[in-house]
């Protein structure tokens, strides 16, 4: 379905990304440059990078498909599922991490609780990221194969080669600055599709009227708040308790690949501003990924598989040239996700595993080299393991869902860790272990406990709540930390008062 101009645009995009990424090699002289960009980056670049790394090629298709099936309520994930959490991160958590000179979230957990909590959290993220890499490669390549007729191994090798080279040499600076271009490409491609689709359906109001007449199953298609007894996975109770209170916060505050970007900011204001700017940009994401799915209901009614909505819209709406731009946007989504996984996992391994357990006190160049080699090894593992995904259909969704079960307990210990001085190392450790165990238990026996088809929002809430309670109870029963141990790790009004004196 691609014309010559489309191939030209996609190939020019890939080569452009490689050259841009390699340009940043000259700024990497230390491990801080590699993992934290020398703490020199501006808020706008970080904000764009946060947004674009959060959305991959699979999300374009998946979210459009869900919008086709369930309507506008899917937008909750980028609206209420992002903005409040990003404001909380900007004003409370990020300043603490930035001032503390931290590299990783588990590093904070290690200082606040103990080394065991740090290691469990870090190993969990490393395993997830490493597994996700191969699965992401394969699932995205299959998608590009279906959409573009592009051979699977060309997609994988092209992405791995380009992303691997610039991430290996340029570190997080290359990751963030290429993300900026990827963000722009994604927005241009996405908005082109939205505007042309709107024209095709005769405008927004016309589309709403047409969908309203299509039958009772479309009755709630434009209700962002779904009733508690909806059969969709997005009842308002799940959106409020599971998404807004737990998963969104856990993702924006406890996810290494998000937070690490803010830690590269040139000063505290830029660190805070990057999150708030990112939250503003986030509000446009549903327009890009959700609206095409809604409009497909009018243009291509009755699709058996909602995930066909976006590909059908691209085929029927976009002219040559813009098709190429849209596929460049898909590649942008894939590349930004892969480079984030690579750099964050290399940081977690080097700082939380290698430095404390394998070689303490080595010189900085050594850790820089370890970070680069880890990036390379991860990339090779990702490429080598990617075909395994083809033997396990649904593994991508399974891994994402599985990770969502860790979010509740991790957020419980982060929240209590920063807001409650009385929280102890044993409280944190037991909350993490028991909370994760409970989430797994609820998942295994979900048919017995839940009535909706995919209760991941409810599971994250209940595992958070149990983790929270366990943390409080065990902390009250164990020896509290000294003021000296807690210095700079727990939120207090002093941080605000002290600033007044500056």
């Amino acid at each position: 379905m691609l014309a010559g101009i489309d191939y030209f645009i996609v190939i020019a995009y890939i080569i452009g990304m490689l050259l841009l990424g390699l340009y940043f090699k000259k700024f990497v002289n230390s491990s801080e440059d590699y993992f934290l960009g020398g703490k020199s980056l501006p808020f706008w670049a970080i904000g764009m990078s946060i947004v674009v790394s959060d959305i991959g090629a699979l999300d374009f298709v998946g979210v459009s498909g869900q919008a086709y099936r369930y309507g506008i309520s899917v937008g909750n994930f980028d609206w209420v599922g992002s903005v409040p959490a990003m404001l909380l991160a900007a004003f409370i958590f990020i300043p603490y991490f930035w001032r503390g000179g931290m590299y990783t979230i588990p590093e904070y957990l290690g200082r606040r609780y103990n080394q065991k909590v740090r290691t469990i959290a870090s190993v969990t993220w490393i395993l997830f990221f490493a597994l996700d890499l191969g699965v992401l490669f394969w699932a995205s390549a299959v998608l590009l194969n279906v959409l573009m007729g592009w051979p699977i191994w060309i997609s994988i090798v092209a992405t791995a080669g380009v992303v691997g080279l610039y991430t290996y040499f340029g570190g997080i600076t290359a990751v963030i600055m290429t993300d900026v271009v990827q963000f722009i490409i994604m927005f241009i491609g996405g908005f082109a599709l939205v505007f042309l689709s709107l024209y095709e359906v005769g405008g927004w109001d016309n589309m709403v009227d047409k969908i309203a007449t299509m039958g009772p199953e479309y009755r709630n298609h434009f209700d962002i708040i779904q009733p508690q007894d909806t059969k969709s996975p997005f009842p308002w109770t799940g959106i409020l308790f599971g998404l807004t209170f737990v998963m969104a916060n856990a993702y924006m505050i406890g996810n290494q690949s998000i937070v690490q970007r803010c830690l590269t900011a040139k000063n505290e204001w830029h660190a805070k501003a990057s999150m708030i700017f990112g939250s503003a940009l986030k509000m446009f994401i549903p327009i890009l990924v959700l609206f095409p799915g809604l409009m497909a209901v009018v243009v291509h009614p009755g699709l058996e598989d909602g995930d066909q909505a976006l590909p059908m819209m691209i085929k029927s709406i976009l002219p040559p040239g813009l098709v190429g731009l849209m596929f460049a946007a898909f590649f942008a989504g894939l590349m930004s996700s892969v480079d984030s996984l690579l750099n964050s996992t290399a940081t977690l391994f080097t700082k939380d595993i290698y430095e404390p357990f394998i070689k303490k006190g080595a010189d900085d160049k050594h850790y820089l080299k370890v970070g680069q080699i880890t990036t390379l090894v991860l990339l090779l593992i990702g490429v080598a393991t990617s075909p395994i995904s083809s033997d396990f259909p649904g593994i991508y969704v399974a891994i994402q869902t599985f990770m969502s079960y860790f979010q509740g307990p991790i957020f419980a210990i982060l929240l209590l860790g920063i807001f409650w001085k009385r929280t102890t190392e044993w409280g944190g450790l037991s909350a993490l272990v028991i909370g994760i165990g409970f989430a797994i238990y609820l998942n295994v026996f979900k048919e017995q406990f839940f009535t909706i088809e995919d209760p991941f929002l409810y599971i994250s809430w209940w595992s958070f709540l149990l983790g929270f309670i366990i943390n409080v109870v065990v902390s009250l029963l164990t020896k509290k930390h000294t003021e000296e141990q807690l210095k700079g790790l727990v939120f207090s009004s002093k941080i605000l008062v002290e600033n007044k004196k500056l």
Partner: protein, 71 residues
């Protein structure tokens, strides 16, 4: 209990008001932050209304609230 059945009597309109109230509460908390704190990192002479992060946050929350109010 796990399915929040005890909230089944809450209408969609009331639920929407809960979300809008949440945004208003967050906005209020943001406004309560000391101005010095939100400017931290910028030299005193470079502080202007357009780099006041409280205003940025309130703008984002207003847009978010208008989306939820509309849909």
């Amino acid at each position: 209990m796990f399915n929040f059945d005890w909230l089944s009597g809450v209408s969609q309109e009331t639920a929407k008001m809960i979300f809008l109230s949440l945004y208003a509460l967050i906005g209020l908390l943001v406004l309560l932050l000391p101005t010095e704190y939100v400017y931290q990192g910028i030299a005193k002479e470079d502080r202007h209304w357009w780099n006041n992060l409280k205003l940025w946050s309130i703008a984002v929350l207003c847009i978010l609230a208008s989306i939820y109010n509309h849909f």
